[in-house]
Symmetry: C2
Subunit: 185 residues, 2 copies
């Protein structure tokens, strides 16, 4: 019944591109997919152990100097597992925006707080958008491989939705300011 934990397929997916350490995996998540998925050492390392037990990945020690280092490699079984997950129609898509929650309930609060929350959101989105745009452009200029096309499409999703967010922020601020006849409290 219980769905497989998604960190497993994230790891398999990253390892399907190249061999990586747990630390590398965390960095890749942070750099490439953090706007739609997250991971932490606290779930990556235990997941690596489980995946290896299930023969979906294999490991080899590759210390650098005296520093411990374990490089993971996806197996054929792991690749098959990844493809099956992609093929599976079930997909959980969740958005949990506390900023919207605060706005939804702002009726009993100070209008300035509502505006401030929107501005904070807007600033964060603008910052993230500028990074995503660079990323997106780099990928667009190098669409030679199938992998890159898919990376580009996810980055494009980020850029286009974030641009929609920013437009909305403008409208929201305007409406809140215009409708001042309610009288802030």
């Amino acid at each position: 019944m219980a769905r497989e934990k998604r960190i497993n397929v994230v790891i398999l997916g990253l390892l399907s591109h190249e061999d990586l350490t747990g630390y590398d995996i965390k960095k890749h998540i942070d750099n490439s997919i953090s706007f739609f998925w997250n991971g932490s050492f606290g779930n990556i390392y235990p997941a690596l152990k489980e995946l290896e037990e299930d023969n979906l990945i294999s490991s080899s020690n590759a210390p650098v100097g005296g520093r411990e280092r374990i490089v993971y490699h996806i197996t054929q079984k792991g690749k098959k597992h990844l493809r099956e997950w992609i093929k599976d129609e079930q997909a959980v898509n969740e958005l949990r925006y506390e900023t919207l929650l605060k706005l939804f309930f702002a009726g009993g609060a100070d209008k300035k707080d509502a505006l401030h929350n929107i501005e904070l959101f807007e600033d964060k989105i603008k910052k993230d958008l500028s990074i995503l745009k660079i990323h997106c452009k780099t990928l667009k200029d190098d669409l030679n491989s199938e992998d890159h096309m898919y990376f580009y499409l996810t980055a494009l999703f980020g850029v286009e939705t974030y641009e929609a967010y920013i437009k909305w922020c403008g409208k929201a601020k305007k409406l809140i300011n215009d409708k001042d006849q309610f009288g802030g409290r």
Copy 2:
């Protein structure tokens, strides 16, 4: 350190509009805010008990016939707590889209699967969008109260981002189909 669980403020927020039972709260969440926040009986009922212990809400028995029914009411302390949460600058905004994850890792899979996943996503979004649009229009035609303005703004957020999603779906499908020189596997 640990952040307060957000279901608490969701409940306080809904009760700041009107008195409700636990069952009502679940319905309101499903009807009005489910596109950016969720709740389940399994976390609503325990949270109601805690909130009452902390005097943020009060309860009164209001059975209908022989059917048990507990109506909750927000206290002054609860209202204050809600306003403070809104004022607090911290806000966690997370997007977790398994569809994007599948797309990001689609390089080793069949191109048809990638397209199919986008179509499934698009269908779901279109369905939800049509509901959101009706909701949004209703709210727009009745912007007399401050509460309604905020409800409208959150619904507008949904409409505009979902429209951006649908545009992206079109582009994504087109690019995947056009770039067929990679040769699907």
